[in-house]
């Protein structure tokens, strides 16, 4: 026989002002199954909680109903109190008579009646509450970090320094990401390489970090604490154990005219190459697309056309026959840090975007992207830091920077602000003016957004000290005019046309997510927004968590972010992971579905509707131990407790703990009594 305690809270006057609290308590006192019913000014206060604890002991309560505020407010409080008094926390429920009654109705009989209904309903529910144990899930204290840019590097180092194992997977031949391509960084103008490369080396040498470069995520299954990850290690054609990174192979490669990805196509590289001098690992990769030998093989040549790199390698580390390798890793948590890519204004665009015909689709040679400018300005760049025009190698005297290219341009398919452009445009004007003293830098902008420590000062410096011209307005058209570029713009502040002849134009193009994100999102059942950026579980309260438990996110794959942001979110994600790893197993609320395997008919409609893939098939055997069918089982670690399976099950063989059919049945009956 149920012995329920009912505790009606006045919440000061918040409830008692419109609800007759003692009346409610009295009404419930006579309710079948209620052992004790009382009201008090502040139930959530210590004396209030003590009332509950005492009652639990004195009346040997089997359930507790606190008629007060919303469960989102104090459910945890009272469940804790109950368990301190030795009662299972999950037989404690809140009856929401504040937010959903006293606050929204006038005082009066109808309101009192409603309050009573609410409490009685919950009492009836609690009669059917089962004492539950928190779900415990085994935990692998090993984290996978996807992406070796600055965010991935930071997350990996923080987690590893925190004492856990890390697997870092980078699809490029080297870690470092976009940051390694930058010349200087705002707002301090310190050299990007100088602050990044030490971190890269740290990763390489860290005893607890396993690094897979030139590798991608093939498959992921399992669930929080227990992910099984398959990593595809793409064939490098170089044996990493033998290679010393001497570079002889690169020198030997006859095929040297391949546009360098690292130099944003401004420089060239051989077919076997290390993307940049400080690359980590410093081991070359053979680009089979562009390798004479492999092109020959592709054409079905019997004899190999080349082999110079192999001849040149004294350690004979070159292996043309090397195949992709599939590596299985077991991890407990995953951090997505896949970073970003840049919008290009060209004719060819991914679905949903369109290019800039009014800028001739970037077919004017001296119209370059911001990243290309970084390479021009970078001491390690193709020009050794000399800023010259791609077309004729002369030093441009008039450089025009256009902000918001793609960004904030719904017509081109991107409505958001790319956030970093205002800052790096200002940085570019400085770098340019520092190198070309008689040069003129002009920036077309719509708004200057400098929310960040020292950011506003930085932009002002560009204008006030380095004399950059800022014109407010979007450029309408760009022509090729002889060997200069005619830029047709408008100065909306002066109310005058701004038609400039430029020697070079730099486009501050928008930040876009990697198209791989969607694919990855599906593999991890993580949601992404309409652009393909990974969405966090809650934009404010859970910024680095995703919709899948145990999967976290860091850096620019979430939304455009600069280096400080990326590092902050990476450390945040890392601390979340370490927090997860702090115990020996994971605990979660027992609000999960369970299958009654005796009545399950194995139609697996539950599997079809489960958003988390939490349903597994298990065999059922007959007396002679022959498999005679299959039934469903819920993986408690994966189940998030939505209950969609329960409503879908035709034979009512699934129950959602905490919201069982019996509980809801009791509530409905209690609401509509005769």
């Amino acid at each position: 026989m149920a012995r329920i305690g009912v505790f009606v809270c006045h919440c000061g006057e918040n409830i008692s002002r419109t609800v007759d609290c003692s009346g409610v308590a009295k009404a419930l006192a006579d309710h079948p199954g209620v052992a004790v019913s009382m009201d008090y000014k502040y139930m959530c206060s210590d004396p209030g909680q003590n009332l509950v604890k005492q009652a639990i002991e004195e009346h040997a309560l089997t359930g507790v109903v606190v008629a007060a505020c919303s469960p989102h407010m104090h459910e945890k409080t009272f469940r804790r109190a109950a368990s301190q008094a030795g009662l299972n926390p999950f037989v404690v429920e809140m009856a929401n008579v504040r937010e959903q009654c006293s606050w929204v109705h006038e005082a009066g009989p109808a309101t009192d009646a409603k309050a009573i209904d609410i409490v009685r309903t919950i009492v009836e529910k609690v009669k059917n509450n089962a004492p539950l144990e928190t779900v415990r899930i085994p935990l692998t204290k090993r984290a996978l970090v996807i992406g070796g840019g600055i965010a991935g590097i930071q997350a990996a180092l923080d987690i590893a320094d925190g004492g856990a194992e890390v697997v870092l997977v980078e699809k490029e031949p080297s870690i470092g990401g976009h940051m390694s391509q930058l010349s200087e960084t705002f707002p301090t103008l310190d050299c990007s390489q100088c602050i990044l490369t030490p971190r890269m080396v740290e990763v390489y040498q860290h005893p607890r970090i396993t690094l897979y470069t030139h590798s991608e995520i093939e498959a992921v299954d399992g669930y929080i604490g227990n992910f099984h990850v398959t990593v595809r290690k793409k064939a490098r054609s170089v044996d990493e154990r033998l290679c010393t990174g001497c570079g002889d192979c690169q020198a030997a490669c006859p095929n040297r005219k391949i546009p360098s990805e690292f130099d944003a196509e401004l420089g060239t590289r051989p077919a076997i190459y290390v993307p940049f001098p400080q690359a980590v690992p410093n081991i070359p990769v053979l680009d089979r697309e562009n390798c004479t030998l492999f092109k020959g093989r592709a054409k079905g040549r019997e004899k190999d056309l080349c082999g110079k790199c192999k001849e040149a390698c004294l350690r004979s580390a070159i292996d043309y026959e090397q195949q992709d390798e599939l590596i299985d890793e077991k991890v407990g948590a995953i951090v997505i840090a896949t970073g970003f890519k840049l919008y290009t204004i060209g004719r060819e665009q991914p679905e949903g975007l369109s290019g800039y015909p009014e800028y001739n689709y970037g077919e004017i040679p001296d119209v370059i992207s911001g990243l290309q400018f970084e390479r021009l300005a970078s001491a390690s760049g193709p020009t050794g830091g000399r800023i010259v025009r791609p077309s004729d190698g002369t030093v441009p005297k008039r450089v025009v920077f256009l902000q918001c290219i793609g960004s904030r341009d719904p017509e081109k398919g991107i409505s958001y602000c790319s956030k970093i452009c205002c800052m790096y445009a200002a940085k570019h004007t400085m770098l340019y003016r520092h190198k070309v003293h008689d040069g003129q830098a002009t920036v077309f902008y719509m708004d200057i957004r400098t929310a960040g420590k020292g950011y506003e000062e930085f932009v002002r410096r560009a204008i006030e000290e380095d004399g950059a011209d800022y014109i407010r307005g979007r450029v309408s058209r760009m022509y090729r005019d002889g060997d200069t570029v005619k830029v047709v713009g408008y100065d909306t502040l002066a109310g005058e046309p701004a038609i400039l002849d430029a020697d070079m134009v730099v486009l501050c193009t928008a930040i876009r997510p990697h198209k791989g994100n969607k694919n990855l999102g599906r593999k991890l059942s993580v949601t992404y927004d309409q652009y393909g950026f990974i969405s966090s579980a809650h934009p404010k309260l859970r910024p680095v968590e995703t919709t899948t438990a145990g999967v976290f996110v860091a850096g620019a794959c979430m939304s455009p972010s600069d280096i400080p942001d990326s590092i902050a979110s990476a450390s945040a994600a890392a601390s979340k992971v370490l927090g997860m790893f702090s115990g020996d197993e994971l605990e979660r609320e027992p609000t999960v579905a369970i299958v009654n395997e005796r009545t399950c008919i194995g139609c697996f409609n539950c599997e079809k509707v489960c958003p988390y893939g939490a349903i597994e098939h298990i065999d059922v055997c007959n007396r002679d131990n022959e498999i005679c069918g299959h039934v469903a089982r819920v993986l408690p670690g994966v189940c998030q407790g939505c209950g969609t399976c329960v409503a879908t099950c035709p034979s009512k063989s699934v129950e959602l703990q905490g919201f069982t059919d019996e509980q809801i049945f009791a509530e409905i009956n209690a609401l509509l009594t005769w």
Partner: protein, 219 residues
């Protein structure tokens, strides 16, 4: 503005507007249309939501007439946003617009300035035909009369009447002989048979428009 200085034989639009306002005071706006704010009325008529404009100035940058306008496309948009009815309906920009659609083609927010300007012109003509600068008003008027009477436009007639209306008698007169000699001006081009058919259209449209106004709806 270059236009006013360079070509004395022309009705300078800006000054025309000024003259008109001196003569008639600020443009008269009939009660039927004050109900709505300008931005909403423009929306009702054209389906363009001017609120989307974020004043980047790309329209003005590309506008071929920008150099000759006192009030440029993005300012016109701004006037609408600020509900400056009188200024918007009387500014020179809307009359100097060539309807070349360059602004709309390049607008990042698809705020369609060309369509907005079109709508403003229409509204201006309704509220007070006097608003249209003499030359342009004259041209449209002449043109439409032509169609109403003949169903087709005969350039000779058009040019002549237009010059009368706009008081620029010798405009292009020099080139008339040349045109004729090249057989480009037929004195009476093949006109239509069923002109009433076209006239009925004019009548029906006027009726429909009046009807719409009285209902407060548009188009």
């Amino acid at each position: 503005m270059e236009s006013s200085t360079l070509h004395s034989n022309e009705d300078d639009i800006a000054s025309a507007v000024v003259r008109h306002q001196e003569a008639h005071g600020a443009p008269h706006v009939p009660a039927s249309s004050v109900r709505m704010s300008l931005i909403d009325e423009v929306y009702a008529r054209s389906g363009v939501n001017v609120r989307t404009c974020y004043q980047c100035g790309k329209c003005s940058a590309g506008c071929p007439m920008m150099g000759e306008m006192a009030v440029r496309p993005h300012v016109v948009m701004h006037l609408v946003q600020r509900n400056q009815r009188a200024e918007a309906l009387s500014c020179d920009g809307i009359w100097l617009c060539l309807s070349c659609e360059t602004c709309s083609a390049r607008c990042p927010k698809s705020a369609d300035p060309a369509r907005v300007i079109d709508t403003l012109r229409e509204m201006a003509t309704e509220t007070n035909p006097g608003l249209a600068p003499r030359a342009i008003g004259a041209f449209n008027k002449t043109f439409l009369d032509q169609i109403r009477s003949k169903g087709r436009m005969s350039e000779v007639g058009l040019a002549m009447q237009f010059n009368l209306r706009s008081g620029r008698l010798l405009q292009d007169a020099t080139s008339m002989p040349a045109l004729v000699s090249r057989g480009k001006l037929k004195i009476n081009p093949p006109s239509m048979r069923d002109i009433d058919d076209v006239r009925r259209i004019f009548a029906n449209v006027e009726a429909a428009t009046r009807d719409a106004r009285s209902k407060g709806g548009y188009r």
